[in-house]
Assembly symmetry: C2
Homo-oligomer: 451 residues x 2
């Protein structure tokens, strides 16, 4: 397995370092995949050790390793080296990776590094950084192979042989006219299996599906996932070919978006960086906003209890069940909201199906509530609360679970309809909303049954 | 945008159907991408309409459409057609897609269809279905191009031209010896840019990274994502090349795994199928297990309240804050658990870093608790509970948030260490665990301050 191999690599590197065999270490590293070298660097705890290893890499490998590293480690290494060397390294990698490494740096450092790069590369990087965050323009690479309709298959194959390896992918070859308008695509596979004298115009697929440079990365991911693309071309508003987004970038986007949704579902703003790369004050900032809002919302439950103080004083046993009932409401709502948010993200539910969702959730809430109600009844009897309070608990549970399931489904669907990312509707938000209403249901039923 | 185009397609298809222009409809559909035809079919609400449209497709397109459809719609269509036609269609698609369509069918139907397929295809499908669910063997395709070391580049290109389009991807070409052992890989890109008289043995990369046929699909996804592969070869225990997993399958795996994690985080067992494709009783079964467990766990809070009944009777105002305090504990725990589960899934946290995580979470919990404690103090004063109860609330909050953050971090890390998927540790589970302990903290502080 890969993990065992990695453990071996790390201890080999540690030994070379300890014994000062830097030349042998350098040879050892050249044989590894850049992703593995990045993982080894991450395993070395001492920044100074990392730097010693990183310095041994030639520019191209160093660049690839840098783009595979966690942002905090990459930035730390970049800060410890001469800006001229960093600029040389950045020139070796594709412009989208360079832009990603530069985007979170302080603007003065970023400017210095870009200025030290070759003018052409620098201009490309500047262009990428000008696009909005999380847009197709930000994740595309500008290095794309452009073919012309009149070329033959043989000429094209010759052309590809003469190309240096700058283009990130040549598995889709895009065809442009004299003004760089995108007019077609030729999969490399088609090129290879076509007669040598056929022209690109004959074998290309016209009507290429493309994305706009300002399209959201999530939309691009959806498209690539739907059509099983390996890459999708990016055009500007006049259909000029400006770049290409490859499927490996999409894999990263999917992981990033899933991370965002999971953090939001837990009730916190998503961390933009890995856990340890995010500072403690920054995590506090991401969490405290929602917690404050929920805390203020939660004080509503206090008002409900104060409102029903009369009956609660008269039947003190009612208080015993308060945490259990609102906890169950929160749990049922949390289950529903997770299911619905994911179904919305995958496009499984549309707004016009809202009533179908509601009726399903009501049925689910009722069934679950009846089962829990029966158990709650016997728990109350065993606590000697008497049959009346047991009945109040048993009756309240189905109402609370139905209500929680409905709220857990309705609010994300409504948010989605209003153009708000439904993932901001978290489990804790639904739980807090259900708390006060669940208590109201419970004490109202208690009033009806007991008084 | 794609959505507008889809709306146009759907209304065009509806019109052709309504006016009975089936031949024109058939032509119209042939021009579309299979994924678009699948989306159109899903938009048609009447199963009979779907069937009329689906029947117009030629076998190959029908097969591709079937593999793009939601499982419930695909199975419904398969059930409405003659088994012979279904078998013909299944022969046209890659064996992994055929296996996926067949796996959830009742075994008698599945057997009937497989028996009707060509013997060779049938054997391949049976082989795939014999591998465990969610294994590499289950998502791989067996159609893979095999090269020999002695072939020249020119011979190989000729060979590729003569191949029919059976192989799902030819972007990586695998090299095997006479016993079908995997010995190397040649990216199509390398092949195309190499001199025609070079041999495969000269240009291939030996030491191919491969996965075992019984490896978990999540491991395969991690590998493809780490190394930015377009495909990875699958071998058996003797290193025989048996198939290939392509990146588009990995995109599906990533979406599936994110869905599982999100459902679990919400506190329910993951649904295996899209929301509407899952029946209501099946959703109830997925949700009720955890709810029951949490309900029983939740009755602990009742025991805690009964235990502290003395002080709660004496100071009735204490009850007002019970839902607020346990709600806040649940929310803080839920935030932490979401962050930690995701960090574990992405490999950002390792077991040996557990103390570093704990100290970070304690700091975060303390900071948040102090802010909320200050607000809680003033809320209590405004409710005229008197300064002593306000003090109890203010003191309890930091302890509860620290405790919730620690529990929310520790339990998923421990589960991961024990080989349990940390995603089963849900927000509701942490909330329930924190409820009873949070109450104990609150009433203990109350006893110390008030008595």
């Amino acid at each position: 397995m890969i993990e065992d191999m990695m453990t071996q690599h790390v201890s080999a590197v540690r030994e070379f370092l300890a014994s000062g065999q830097l030349e042998r270490l350098s040879h050892y590293l050249t044989r590894l995949h850049p992703a593995d070298v990045a993982e080894i660097l991450a395993e070395l705890d001492e920044p100074q050790d990392r730097l010693s290893v990183f310095r041994l890499l030639h520019d191209e490998l160093a660049g690839e390793v840098l783009s595979e590293l966690e942002p905090d480690i990459a930035h730390d290494l970049m800060g410890r080296m001469a800006p001229e060397r960093v600029a040389d390294i950045l020139e070796e990698i594709s412009t989208d990776d360079a832009a990603e490494l530069l985007e979170d740096l302080p603007s003065s450092v970023r400017e210095e590094l870009i200025t030290l790069m070759e003018p052409e590369e620098a201009a490309d990087v500047r262009e990428l950084l000008a696009y909005p965050e999380e847009s197709a323009g930000r994740i595309m690479t500008q290095e794309v192979v452009r073919l012309r309709r009149r070329w033959t298959v043989e000429e094209t194959l010759d052309y590809l042989r003469r190309l240096d390896n700058g283009a990130e992918t040549i598995y889709y070859l895009y065809v442009v006219d004299d003004e760089n308008h995108l007019v077609g695509v030729v999969p490399l596979r088609t090129l290879v299996t076509s007669p040598p004298d056929a022209t690109i115009g004959q074998i290309m697929t016209p009507n290429v599906i493309s994305v706009r440079v300002d399209d959201d990365q999530e939309y691009v991911a959806e498209l690539v996932s739907k059509y099983n693309f390996l890459a999708v071309p990016v055009v500007d508003e006049e259909n000029h070919l400006v770049g290409i987004v490859t499927v490996d970038d999409i894999v990263d986007v999917l992981e990033e978006e899933a991370t965002e949704d999971i953090h939001r579902l837990g009730g916190s703003e998503p961390l933009d960086m890995p856990y340890f790369a995010t500072t403690v004050p920054s995590i506090i900032r991401k969490r405290i906003g929602w917690l404050l809002l929920l805390f203020v919302g939660g004080t509503l439950t206090g008002s409900v209890i104060r409102h029903f103080a009369g009956i609660a004083d008269q039947f003190a046993a009612l208080n015993i069940f308060v945490p259990l009932l609102i906890g169950t409401g929160g749990n049922a709502g949390s289950q529903t909201v997770a299911t619905i948010i994911r179904a919305l993200a995958l496009g499984e539910i549309r707004f016009r199906e809202v009533f179908r969702v509601m009726s399903r959730e009501a049925t689910i809430g009722l069934s679950i509530g009846l089962v829990l109600g029966a158990i709650g009844f016997w728990r109350a009897i065993l606590w000697h609360t008497g049959p009346h309070i047991a009945l109040v608990v048993a009756l309240s549970l189905p109402f609370i679970t139905i209500w929680a399931s409905l709220i857990g489904a309705l609010i994300p669907i409504a948010a989605n309809r209003l153009g708000i990312d439904p993932a901001v509707i978290s489990g804790p938000l639904i739980a807090t909303l259900v708390d006060a209403t669940g208590l109201t249901i419970y004490f109202t039923i208690a009033t009806l049954v007991l008084l």
